[in-house]
Amino acid sequence: MNRIQKTFARCKAEGKAAYVAYLTMGAPTLEKSFAAAETLLGEGVDILELGVPFSDPVADGAVIRAAANRALANGVTLADVLAGVSGLRARHPDTPVVIFTYYNILYSYGLKRFADEAAQRGVDAVLVVDLPLEERGELLDVLRPAGLTLVPLVAPTTGPARVRAIAEGLEDSFLYAVTVKGTTGQRASLPPELASRLTEIKRLVNLPVVAGFGIRTPEEGAAVASHCDGFVIGSALVERFMKDA
């Protein structure tokens, strides 16, 4: 079992939902974003998603965009984030670390170079928001030999056959179920059909499912995750640590 599988097994044994935390690395500074990751791990976060900023974040809402702009103004790059993972990995040997970004960042870096360096630093998986099923082969071809996996996403618009196809071959990862149509960020309420939707997705796939977008607190996350295996908090955490800056 890899770190991701062990983490979900542990959470299941403990009867709790996996708490996945997203941070935009480099905001307010690179050091502070890694310090925030440590803080969150102390608060019971199970999996870290480290966001690498991109100039054109079409899938992100205002909070994460503002953080990305700050990180870019600080000149933070993929190489900086990967370098920081080494320390994190040494202190937290069992915590899954996911690099979360847009495809051009990886493509520009060189896919193979990225996969090899990420594996060496202790990264477990990659989540690329603008890399759907149809285009992911090119990246998987270099991730697999390096021992990395990919975190796939399904959206409210994804039909059952496509949910299955998206999950196929990634049983060593977890599935990110986007709760709402639209960009990342907090919302007044989550859609009423979310519970049945998560139950349906769980039935279709053979890997842990986490719900993300619009979840503000671990309590809210745990309620949502009663229909799946975990939850993601992103914008609310980014906002909190930007405020502390």
Binding site: F54, S55, D56, P57, V58, A59, R65, N69, L72, T77, L78, A79, Y102, Y103, N104, I105, L106, Y107, S108, Y109, V129, D130, L131, P132, L133, E134, E135, L153, V154, A155, P156, T157, T158, G159, R162, I166, V178, K181, G182, T183
Partner: protein
């Protein structure tokens, strides 16, 4: 359906948009097979847009230059004043067919925004246009036109506050509202099927020009020249001549203050391969993959990417891509005004400038077909400002 051009193109979008894109692919494939769709489109192009657009021999300019004959494809004479409407008519018909009631669009110079607002009015649909805040300022006549036509204009002040940022915001809106909203992309960029669909709708330019040229001159043009931002007017022109190897295809990118200065918008001539707005293509980007702010005196060419089919044509050598700087474009703008009584868009002036460079080196028998993609009314203030040394930005 064609999703890739060699390694270029594709569908690099968030999963939420994949199902809407598949629905669009299917609707477009159905429409293409439906004679009623084509008949309605053709009817609108004739009786509303005013096609076909003329082919004008630029006699005084050609004689002044003393070489090849420069012939202009007059897309500036279309309703709304540019080639953009050829595509918005097609996409609005498709939107209606799919039961969508709201059109959104990105726009740079504002011509695509105006063309989208126009068809929204024609079909009784809601329309919202995203436009970079800098472009809102430098293309204010077009902002007024869109509002007059009933569209809501959103000024986007993020990033470089130009076309790419407008497109980011339009993609975000579409992701949130894909149930009732049709995203009318204005160029041959974006995820599949947009590059192919927009090229198909714009191919009327090249098809007409080919026929008109044969009729008027008894031969095909030696070269077909068009400006390239995202590349829709160029792809529309080239589409008519791709199978004619004797016709040299020339795409003209915005050289801004010169390629060497870094202040330009020449994605093919000065960029490298990456992924933006759903396509793999040539992009202007930093070594770490961040998209660079582009610069051109012409808002419609101020885009850091280019349609994937152009990237492919550049690699295969079927088309040649070059750059024209601001000052050359302005000189061509003046030349066309004074020699021909035609005020061209600053975008199209880049293509005219390339023809002015090439014509003297060629014999009188040679024909340079230039796509005059739009009219320059929107640019009067900009040109004045540029001449007085207070450049747009």
């Amino acid at each position: 359906m064609k999703t890739h051009y060699g390694i270029y193109g594709g569908q690099y979008v968030a999963e939420t948009l994949m199902t809407p894109l598949h629905e669009l692919e299917k609707a477009y494939a159905d429409a293409k097979r439906d004679p009623a769709f084509k008949a309605e489109m053709d009817d609108i192009l004739v009786h509303y847009v005013g096609r076909e657009s003329p082919l004008t021999y630029a006699r005084r300019l050609s004689e002044h230059l003393g070489g090849a004959r420069i012939v202009l494809k007059r897309e500036d004479l279309n309703h709304t004043g540019a080639h953009k409407v050829n595509n918005t008519v097609g996409q609005a018909l498709l939107a209606r067919r799919m039961g969508k009631t709201r059109l959104i669009a990105e726009t740079g110079a504002g011509m695509h925004g105006v063309a989208t607002a126009t068809v929204a009015a024609l079909f009784g649909m809601e329309c919202e246009v995203f436009m970079g805040a800098i472009d809102v300022a430098r293309q204010s006549p077009n902002v007024a036109r869109m509002k007059m036509l009933g569209a809501k204009v959103h000024a986007v002040s993020e990033g470089s506050a130009t076309l790419k940022d407008a497109m980011n915001e339009a993609i975000r809106d579409w992701t949130a509202n894909c149930d009732d909203t049709f995203y009318v992309i204005g160029t041959v960029a974006g995820p599949a099927p947009y590059p192919e669909m927009v090229r198909d709708f714009q191919s009327v330019i090249g098809k007409e020009a080919r026929r008109q040229c044969l009729k008027a001159y008894g031969k095909l043009p030696d070269q077909a020249i068009a400006c390239v931002g995202g590349g829709s007017n160029a792809m529309g022109l080239f589409a008519g001549f791709l199978e004619d190897p004797s016709v040299t295809l020339v795409g003209v990118e915005a050289g801004g203050k010169g390629l060497a200065t870094g202040e330009h918008a020449a994605s093919i001539c000065g960029g490298r391969v990456g992924v933006l707005h759903g396509s793999k293509t040539y992009l202007l980007q930093t070594p770490s993959g961040q998209i660079i702010d582009t610069y051109s005196v012409s808002a419609g060419l101020d885009y850091p990417g280019v349609g994937p089919e152009h990237a492919y044509l550049a690699d295969t050598g079927r088309a040649t891509y070059t750059t024209i700087n601001d000052d050359e474009a302005i000189a061509a703008f003046d030349a066309l005004c004074r020699f021909e009584g035609i005020i061209p868009a600053l975008e199209s002036s880049h293509a005219v400038a390339e023809a002015i460079k090439r014509a003297p080196t060629l014999p009188k028998e040679a024909i340079l077909l230039v796509n005059l993609s739009g009219r320059g009314d929107k640019d009067m203030e900009n040109v004045e400002r540029w001449k007085s040394g207070r450049v747009g930005r």
